[in-house]
Symmetry: none
Subunit: 382 residues, 2 copies
Amino acid sequence: MGVIEKVAKAPQAAPVDVRTRKWVDVLPLDSIIQQDCIEAMRALPAASVDMIFADPPYNLQLGGDLARPDGSHVDAVTDDWDKFDSLSAYDAFTRAWLAEARRVLKPNGTIWVIGSYHNIFKVGSAIQDLGFWILNDIIWRKANPMPNFKGTRFTNAHETLIWASMGEKAKYTFNYRSMKTLNDELQMRSDWEFPICGGQERLKKNGTKVHPTQKPEALLYRVMLACTKPGDIVLDPFFGTGTTGAVAKRLRRHWIGIEREGGYVEAAQERIAAALPLDESAVTTMQAPRQAPRVAFGTLVETGYLNPGAVLTDPKRRWRATVGVDGNLRSECGAAGSIHKLGATLQGAPSCNGWTFWHHETPEGLKPIDTLRQTYLLATQP
Amino acid sequence: MGVIEKVAKAPQAAPVDVRTRKWVDVLPLDSIIQQDCIEAMRALPAASVDMIFADPPYNLQLGGDLARPDGSHVDAVTDDWDKFDSLSAYDAFTRAWLAEARRVLKPNGTIWVIGSYHNIFKVGSAIQDLGFWILNDIIWRKANPMPNFKGTRFTNAHETLIWASMGEKAKYTFNYRSMKTLNDELQMRSDWEFPICGGQERLKKNGTKVHPTQKPEALLYRVMLACTKPGDIVLDPFFGTGTTGAVAKRLRRHWIGIEREGGYVEAAQERIAAALPLDESAVTTMQAPRQAPRVAFGTLVETGYLNPGAVLTDPKRRWRATVGVDGNLRSECGAAGSIHKLGATLQGAPSCNGWTFWHHETPEGLKPIDTLRQTYLLATQP
DNA sequence: AGCGTAGATGAATCCTGGC
DNA sequence: TGCCAGGATTCATCTACGC
């Protein structure tokens, strides 16, 4: 593994044509090119890599400071690399690097790009305009996203990945069997759940995170396992702290990283050097735990298992409450809240399991609403 | 509920200006306009609806329905002219109907558009270019998606919705409390799970489905509950078999549907006629505190719920403060101010909710003064 | 050692009404 | 238009520390 500071400054031994500044015959495999990604890709030969994984800046456009309800400060992404003058400037940047990426990809290669609603529509639109053929969009559902502290929107709990081939008729690699095995013999779906990158995996220096947006290795692992073969070449034009390189090394794929910031390059080098080829046990630990799906009471209302206006009672019929459109319960005395909250309030208890406390009338008598939840699960789970 | 076949052919009684072909003073509420959606929206007054929900076609095999490229520049990057042509036509069509939608929306209104990877990137990109401000993208995770029979890709198990306001500074309706109640007291996330539309809900004629992409009512239910108020006007420019109308009627919102195909119009009419509005009381949702009557802390002192001289502390008893006659707090260190200000000052935080920060001693232990406010509200509200 | 609790934190376009 | 002040607002996970 080496680091090439700039193609133009590469040592004479490096296989670069001085006039064209292009890599000849041999690619800078398993090394980091420290340079702007568009320039660096221009120096790579056409049709030379099997996959591109790209995590470009999202163009977040954050406002002022944000504080949590407890008053603490939210550490936002304020880095210069995420600043663009305008939406159209971002658009131009996106089209420029995607065009180079397309040139560098083999005809049977595929590209992956990750983003959020801030940028993914611009990315996807450019991908289609450039002639790529979208194969799937994949949702990374975050197990532990940051909440919406001000209660102004839905919790932004996912990111989107686009997977595309070189064209409508292009061939591509998809390891269907691997994915099905990884998913307990069920077809792998387009929504994947992983925790955000934290704990031991998160790179830190002097106690602070090295990169603000480090991606979990599990995500890259699934991407590479699904869409490359051992020995394939994976290019990451926004290498950051090298998640792509670390996973590629473990999965015995070749990688090329492009990254402008020296600090990130250094951290990536160290990290990848320490990465070990995969062993069996690691495979199992990479899998997201299968957990019983959680069903909110409101879901039963939305899906018609229980209608707004229905009356619930406790098992002893001491209290009656009416179901509201949003799944709230309103008792005759005027108190209102969720099934759990109202149950607790009426009993004067600190907490209450609304699922077993509240009952509804059925032809077979009073039944806990928990039975409705079971019915819903049976109907919707495979 | 009525059906207007075409604005130009509307009966004389209809409030349409013959020269401008526009609706005047009165909107065609709770009715279906059978016409092309762009023309039909042109006839509606500007800034007249509170929400637009759109489920546009995403079939890229364009027929005569979609506008041809209107002189927009030709990008020479692609070599597949057929595909570029249809992609460009779809783009033009998308921008045309979105521009009309924007004109028709109130300044504080919001738009929802649903789509899949075939079209959602074009839609989102156009939404941003037109000046809308994306608030969230929402993932509808299908509980029971159709499998990928060929095993060539990931199972396409979700669709994407975009929710946007009229601009960065625009206000919008978001019933945060309702969503949190609906989700068992956890913030509603950006990924929603619903089954696909089937069973009794799926409209059928002679045993075959009436519409190929009928959306589940549960989806529209959550959208409307989250982002509209009772009595609001919801416009659906791609009405299909009227899911939007049926849900709007149940939730006591007004609706306007635009649909070109007579067969769908007929099915929608029948369906919506059969839908029953929910009882007034059931439509009541959980109120955000700021919509509840405001109670000043001083009021609690004036009315004797808390006496001047009472001592308050934070939950960890790190700070003590005495209640003044005017509802001011004075800490032992001499700092003074409103319950909010003093809390913020002592913690060194930018702000503080005094109602939950300050506690008072009760026989049951330390309790936040917010409970006093609840008691006061229960005692004084009808 | 093991358990329980407190504190920190993550790609976030994060307030509103009155003067 | 901006400024000021009231007051509303968080979930899952990991680490550190004390008992």
